[in-house]
């Protein structure tokens, strides 16, 4: 009764987002819509730090669709001059920026019920969930895959305990590191990493959408 009441007060954009999860259509590796994304933040403290930009691109089968991509920059009061060197986003830059709420509206409308993919996904997902909490909204409902974890299932991984940085994977997979440390650039690179990992896995064993989520020793950044 209480949850029903709470739900009723959610804004329309959240209701619309929720609707997508009622669709129980079965998907396999070739038909499922993945959204590979990355966030640039003011720092690594999930409570204090804020998201500066989100970049995302959709993957279906072996194809990334540039037309189905998202790139948003957020207005934040918090400014950390130490991380500017990494992401290059200035407080008063020329880029058009959205309020955090508006960014969430766009992001939810874009991801729908896609399977989210990110490198060390737990951090990016938590950062989004923190934004949602600030708007008094529940956590993301999407299934999530972490390329860092997925990589450990491949034969290329030599140390199961190590945390592989995106840069290391780029070197291992021979990927050009253009636009590293922009949300969109990292999302794109993560997309390529994701496709290469899937190819690696399919080459060595039977790989299904379901088997991607199976992980005996789950271990993320957090």
């Amino acid at each position: 009764m209480f949850t029903w009441f709470k739900q009723k007060n959610y804004p329309d954009f959240w209701k619309k987002y929720q609707e997508h999860f009622k669709n129980k259509e079965e998907h396999d590796l070739n038909t499922a819509r993945f959204v590979v994304f990355d966030t640039e933040t003011t720092g690594l403290d999930i409570k204090k730090d804020r998201i500066l930009s989100i970049g995302a691109i959709a993957v279906t089968g072996n194809t990334m669709d540039v037309a189905d991509s998202l790139e948003i920059y957020l207005k934040q009061d918090l400014f950390n001059s130490k991380t500017v060197a990494i992401h290059g986003i200035l407080k008063e830059g020329n880029i058009i920026k959205s309020e955090e709420k508006e960014a969430l509206v766009q992001f939810l409308d874009y991801i729908k019920n896609a399977i989210l993919v990110a490198h060390h996904a737990a951090f990016d997902v938590t950062m989004i969930n923190e934004c949602l909490a600030r708007q008094n909204l529940p956590k993301l409902k999407n299934k999530v895959l972490d390329t860092g974890t997925l990589f450990k299932k491949t034969t290329l991984c030599t140390s199961k305990d190590k945390l592989y940085a995106l840069d290391e994977l780029c070197t291992l997979f021979d990927i050009n590191k253009h636009d590293r440390h922009t949300a969109s650039g990292d999302a794109f690179i993560t997309g390529i990493v994701f496709l290469k990992i899937l190819a690696q896995l399919s080459a060595t064993r039977k790989t299904t959408l379901k088997s991607l989520f199976y992980n005996p020793n789950r271990r993320g950044l957090l």
Partner: protein, 637 residues
């Protein structure tokens, strides 16, 4: 809204044709809608007979092989920036070939509909795509958009329409003629009633000789011949003939070269064809200073080999100017070879003046190889030979020694001028190539009836001779003897055919490699051996097999072949286009690097160059296939 990924794709595409000619906004719209496809090694993009996709592909990273499914032949290899799958643009039929990743690859897939929307106004990009497409279809001379295959030639013709030198000369049609036994008086009356300065003597509509005002003044008014004589006695013969499309500059050169004021225009430009017009000096209005004709005048005035060297250097500048102005290559070849011929003629007359006595008998100086074919644009080494009239045995050594020392002087002069000595000593100063008519006949007969690899090689050089100076009759007799020998020993043509096939063109380019049919790779491309010579050899073989005399220029040979074999016209026309493009390419390379332009470093070729060259390989492959079938060479190979 900022789109980092699209910007990165834009940055990649903008360097490759046809995207390099698109407007910034056009290309950005395309970039925003690209799909990025990841392929594992051996993964197919599409297979033969599959329905065409609604997009085509650009290789971003890796490499894609295009295969013919029936026999698993590799048709092409595509690397970074290469486009494939363009069949999607014509939206009909299924894929003819299969495409498979031969390395792990990333492709950009572009919607054909979107591209069409964006570039329907961009003719240049459109043309490039068409050319790419045609270069990859199975049968390039099937008539399907043959016009757009060689985009370069079209551009050339368009660019030069305002150049007076290359405009066709306007000649007088319906020329006034008379027969051989017309009296001089009658002929003169016809000339005055028609108010013309010349009359052509014809037999069965073919021009035999010409009488001009000058002949009447010099030969009749002086009392040398009575006016009751027939025109036969005073006419100048043979006449100089040219085809209908002669250009102003060519006409000027021809008149200066032969010191004449009238040219006969015949149906096909030879003596043996119907007379269709007369072109007189008067018809040519030279409005502005004309470089080639000025140079030829200077040649005639020059006194030493050094003067000639200076003129040859100016000709080189003229050549460079023509190439940068994109003047049609065939026209350039005509002008430059006319200048070279005139220079050689002058070198010979200067040498004769240095001799103690005039030549003891009739003789002819022959240009061989590319000079003989009038296709020599860059300064290469000299290839020449000399034939002299048969003399009684006791006079033979004396005569031969005379011509050897004359040739020695000429070849030294040519060397000074810039035509370096032939390293293989294929020069008239070599006793082997300074022979009497009978010796030449015997030599040719020996080459033809007892061919081996060396003799066949000599045939490919010597059979492309062209008279530069001296007696025409001797040369005609030499040609006769070649054709007679071939007629009695036809298998010679099969040997010549084998030789024409010894250098198949490469398939394509791939990174810094040539893609060979056999799979052998090289990083330098020998444009002469692998592309120009196969076309030259094929033209020579086919023209000899048809028993056609007096055609020793590759373009003219193919034109003639197209005429006698109308069923193969498209193929021969594609060979002409390919030959012109290759010759221009070689000349450009040679000028750029100050060498013969023969070896091309593949790293210096951009996508457009590669595509242009690749378009030329197809006709070569096709003409070689025709030769293989026609001369039953498959069992000999």
């Amino acid at each position: 809204m900022k789109n980092t990924i699209a910007e990165r794709i834009f940055d990649f595409l903008k360097d490759f044709p046809p995207f390099d000619v698109l407007q910034k906004e056009e290309l950005y719209t395309i970039s925003k809608n690209v799909k990025v496809v990841y392929l594992q090694k051996e993964q197919y993009i599409f297979k033969t007979d599959e329905n065409i996709h609604d997009h085509f592909y650009v290789v971003k990273d890796g490499a894609v092989g295009i295969f013919r499914e029936e026999d698993h032949t590799l048709v092409d290899e595509c690397d970074e920036g290469d486009i494939f799958g363009l069949r999607a643009l014509i939206r009909k039929d299924n894929y003819i070939l299969s495409a498979k990743a031969i390395e792990e690859s990333i492709l950009y897939s572009i919607s054909s509909e979107l591209l069409e929307k964006v570039i329907h106004t961009n003719a240049q990009a459109n043309k490039y795509l068409l050319a790419s497409f045609v270069a990859n279809i199975r049968n390039p001379y099937s008539g399907e958009s043959i016009d757009s295959l060689f985009t370069q030639t079209e551009d050339l013709q368009k660019n030069t329409s305002n150049l007076t030198e290359v405009q066709s000369a306007q000649y007088s049609k319906n020329p006034i003629t008379c027969s051989l036994n017309t009296s001089i008086k009658e002929a003169a009356q016809t000339m005055s009633s028609n108010r013309i300065g010349s009359i052509v003597i014809t037999k069965e509509e073919k021009p035999l000789g010409i009488i001009t005002d000058k002949d009447l003044r010099n030969k009749i008014a002086t009392g040398q011949f009575p006016i009751e004589d027939t025109v036969k006695n005073i006419m100048s013969a043979p006449v100089i003939t040219y085809p209908k499309n002669i250009t102003v500059a060519e006409a000027q050169i021809a008149m200066l070269q032969h010191s004449i004021s009238h040219l006969c225009i015949t149906e096909n430009g030879t003596l043996n064809a119907k007379l269709v017009g007369i072109l007189s000096e008067h018809d040519i209005v030279v409005i502005h200073g004309n470089n080639p004709s000025v140079l030829i005048k200077e040649v005639k005035r020059s006194k030493t080999a050094k003067d000639l060297k200076y003129i040859r250097e100016k000709a080189q500048q003229l050549l460079e100017g023509y190439i940068t102005q994109n003047v049609p290559i065939f026209f350039i070849a005509k002008v430059i070879s006319a200048i070279n011929t005139t220079i050689t003629q002058k070198a010979i007359t200067l040498s004769i003046e240095e001799m103690d006595t005039p030549p003891p008998t009739k003789y002819s100086w022959l240009a061989l190889g590319s000079q003989g074919r009038r296709e020599q644009l860059l300064l290469t080494d000299q290839d020449n030979a000399l034939v002299f009239e048969n003399v009684p045995e006791e006079k033979y050594f004396q005569t031969k020694n005379y011509f050897l020392s004359l040739s020695d002087k000429v070849t030294h002069k040519l060397n000074t001028i810039g035509f370096e000595f032939c390293p293989a000593k294929m020069m008239a100063s070599n006793p082997q190539w300074c022979l009497s008519l009978d010796e030449w006949k015997e030599q040719f007969n020996n080459w033809i009836t007892k061919p081996d690899a060396d003799k066949i090689m000599l045939c490919t050089i010597f059979f492309d001779y062209n008279l530069v100076f001296g007696n025409k009759e001797l040369v005609n007799e030499m040609s006769e003897s070649i054709f007679n020998a071939i007629n009695t020993y036809e298998i010679f043509l099969n040997f010549l055919g084998l030789n024409a096939l010894k250098n198949p063109p490469p398939l394509s380019f791939f990174r810094q490699f040539l893609v060979e049919h056999s799979g052998e790779h090289k990083d330098q491309f020998d444009i002469k051996a692998r592309a120009l010579m196969p076309l030259v050899d094929a033209a020579r073989l086919l023209i000899l097999s048809h028993n056609i005399k007096d055609f020793n220029n590759t373009v003219l040979r193919y034109e003639k072949l197209a005429e006698v074999e109308p069923q193969n016209k498209d193929l021969y026309v594609s060979c002409i286009d390919a030959f012109k493009i290759l010759l221009q390419f070689r000349t450009q390379q040679g000028l750029r690097h100050g060498n013969s332009g023969r070896f091309i470093d593949l790293n210096t070729l951009n996508k457009t160059d590669r595509l242009k060259l690749k378009g030329c390989f197809k006709p070569i492959k096709n003409i070689q296939e025709l030769i293989q079938v026609r001369f039953n060479l498959s069992q000999l190979l």
